[in-house]
Point group: C2
Chain length 414, copies 2
């Protein structure tokens, strides 16, 4: 079995990796891991996970980041990128890989599907399973995505805590606090911040979603009104918020390997606007990677999902399923109940699940009760990592010993 | 007894407040609290803490922010600001305040001292105790300041976690991660980030201290060398980092109520410089208030300090001590041992404890073993707040019922 991680990592993707390896070990199946995702497969840069102790694999459950390395590298259409796809199959064949588990988001589901198709076309017998993971929560057919619940919890707790700070200082100091959150195209994380409070006087007082075109005058009026009524105002802004003509409010300038605009910096921009127009003292925060790596604050529900999809992926592969993804299916909101079911990768790839219209309040600045019913279970429970005598979490670093190469070199970027 | 909070709040200042109120209740002393610090005393805006339940007071132990409100408001010299000082004494007298406990940093120690002097001059019998608190860790005569250990722990854990993320992605994505931390004039928090790793290949690879003039060419060369050697690079930069001519590298433009420059935004500035000059992909984070309000990740050692200074302040006041502050005295590094002793406010006020030269590595980019011996005990242990079924910490909101006014109105800002 070959396991690889793809795209932005999460607080719990390693929990999925650990579950995969433990489930495969129980079935006497050896697991190789690709170093740095699909790039490692192309380079035949593989890791022998059987050289890791059980304790090290168990510690993946509580270690953030991507233990084998991840990547941002997108394969093109099969006909345009045939050399790379054929190389992938060559590597799988050289190492007698019968099961390929690719742990990622939308782009990875697409890659997994194409690998499945090329393998079939070339007559190489491999079962390909997509394993869901993304803090963006935008994968189709699964009720939620492992990684999202933890960033949602981090965001809600951070807004709650920072707002207590702002409330204490507002009389003579900071009146407006602006916090930026991830979410390029969908406001899932922004929505999760809404769990920090209830009602118009509790933070966050204003959420700016990518789904709602930014209206500066209306926004500033709302900030002003909130400060007059409450004494202070907490604003959560999605990195993906756009002007009415569809452009990102702030672009860092660069583009990532997938051609997506690299965003960042909308919080300071809004804060400065608030000062210039309203004369209010501000602070702003941009947690960036902190929000998706904060394993110390992971959601126990999210962790349970991450482990369950890993286990199910192994079970599906060994049962001969192909080109599917284990999806989280919610069967009840209250009490929260869920199960795992296989869905076809073809229906997941290249489809983005957007925030339902019914999740955003009519005024556009907050979440509805329906959103709360969906989001609330996802941040429940804690699973703190063990901490050393030095006061730091004990995160594991694997040995990641390489598997001997059998093929000539191949450079993916060439 | 009158208790007030001053300056930037911390994850554990309310633990001090709770300890003060509990200790006073045990001695049958009624505690009033000023709403929004000294501003509330001037306005005679006082809160009757005897109306709060024992459970609510106990919950202050695990609630961040400032439960009674804090302020940034500095009194001037006694002769220039006589009307305000006399008003303060009038308010103390009107409410028969025999003990005044002021919980803050340098400016508050100075204010406490002046109130003590004015009270003596006017013959009003009140015992004034300064109670230490500041994430900046810059108070003289105390080994450390309650609030610092928790922001230190937050910073070290965040650097550790975010760096695992960067390490996973570096092969094909982000190579440099820049995180900004608080610390206007002293690099205590920046230094604490050094606890995240050991040796030159572990993060943070580069720390930029306010104490070390910023040398752009040397910094960029070091980033480049780290990326070549390690594959990626984590940089921690203090908000107070300065150019060789002594100016802040980045100023947000405004100044706070004390006339200090309001800083922020040095992380994106450095990140952009790294991209422009080295062509490396970056991410940056600015946790801002998140770092000092993260009670969910507070240090148990810091919490113990916060509680101890609160208890000692009450004991000193009731024992008739005047114009003193309970200081934390370290008696041993390993095992870590400490005790509380009174120190004269006159020796604390207006003195800033800078990071010792021996704490910064000779190359200027990291911490020494001596710094580790000092810092390490301060981040040890956890004391997670209780969490509700909703997955959020259960932070208390006090009733904060007002005490009836007895004097004519007075507006501090007039």
């Amino acid at each position: 079995m070959l396991y690889a991680q793809s795209g932005g990592v999460t607080a719990v993707i390693n929990a999925t990796a650990g579950a995969v390896i433990e489930a495969a070990r129980r079935r006497q199946v050896k697991v190789l891991a690709a170093r740095n995702g699909i790039v490692g497969v192309l380079r035949e840069d593989l890791i022998d996970t059987s050289r890791e102790t059980s304790a090290a694999i168990a510690a993946l459950r509580h270690t953030p980041g991507g233990a084998f390395g991840s990547c941002r590298f997108k394969l093109g259409a099969i006909d345009r990128d045939r050399a790379r796809y054929e190389r992938l199959i060559d590597v799988l064949r050289a190492h007698d890989i019968r099961y390929f588990l690719y742990n990622g988001g939308n782009d990875s589901a697409d890659t997994s599907l194409k690998i499945a198709q090329v393998a079939e076309a070339l007559g190489y017998p491999v079962k390909v399973i997509g394993v869901p993971k993304t803090v963006d929560n935008d994968l189709a057919l699964t009720d939620c995505c492992p990684g999202f619940g933890s960033v949602a919890k981090y965001t809600a707790v951070s807004v709650l805590e920072a707002s207590l700070d702002v409330a204490s200082m507002a009389e003579s100091s900071t009146k407006v606090f602006v916090m930026e959150v991830m979410g390029r195209h969908a406001g899932w994380i922004a929505a999760a911040s809404g769990l920090a409070g209830n009602g118009p006087d509790e933070p966050p007082h204003i959420i700016l979603f990518p789904e709602v075109p930014f209206d500066e005058a209306a926004f500033l009026a709302r900030v002003q009104a909130t400060v007059e009524r409450v004494g202070w105002c907490t604003v959560v802004v999605s990195e993906g918020v756009r002007t009415p003509d569809g452009r990102f409010l702030s672009e860092a300038g660069g583009r990532d390997a997938f051609g997506h605009a690299q965003l960042g910096g909308v919080a300071p921009l809004l804060a400065q606007r608030i000062k210039d127009r309203l004369g209010l003292k501000y602070h702003w925060a941009q947690p960036d990677y902190l929000q998706r790596s904060a394993r110390h604050l992971a959601s126990r529900t999210d962790l349970a999902h991450a482990i369950a999809v890993g286990k199910a992926a192994v079970a599906y592969a060994l049962a001969g399923r192909h080109a599917v993804m284990p999806a989280i299916v919610r069967t009840s909101d209250a009490p929260y109940r869920w199960k795992i079911e296989p869905v076809p990768l073809a229906k997941v790839a290249n489809t983005e699940k957007v925030l339902p219209k019914g999740f955003i309040r009519r005024d556009g600045y907050g979440i509805t009760e329906r959103a709360r019913r969906y989001l609330s279970p996802l941040i429940r429970g804690e699973d703190p990592p063990p901490t050393g005598k030095d006061g730091l979490p004990r995160y594991v670093k694997l040995k990641n010993l390489p598997v001997a190469r059998k093929l000539p070199p191949f450079e993916p970027a060439d």
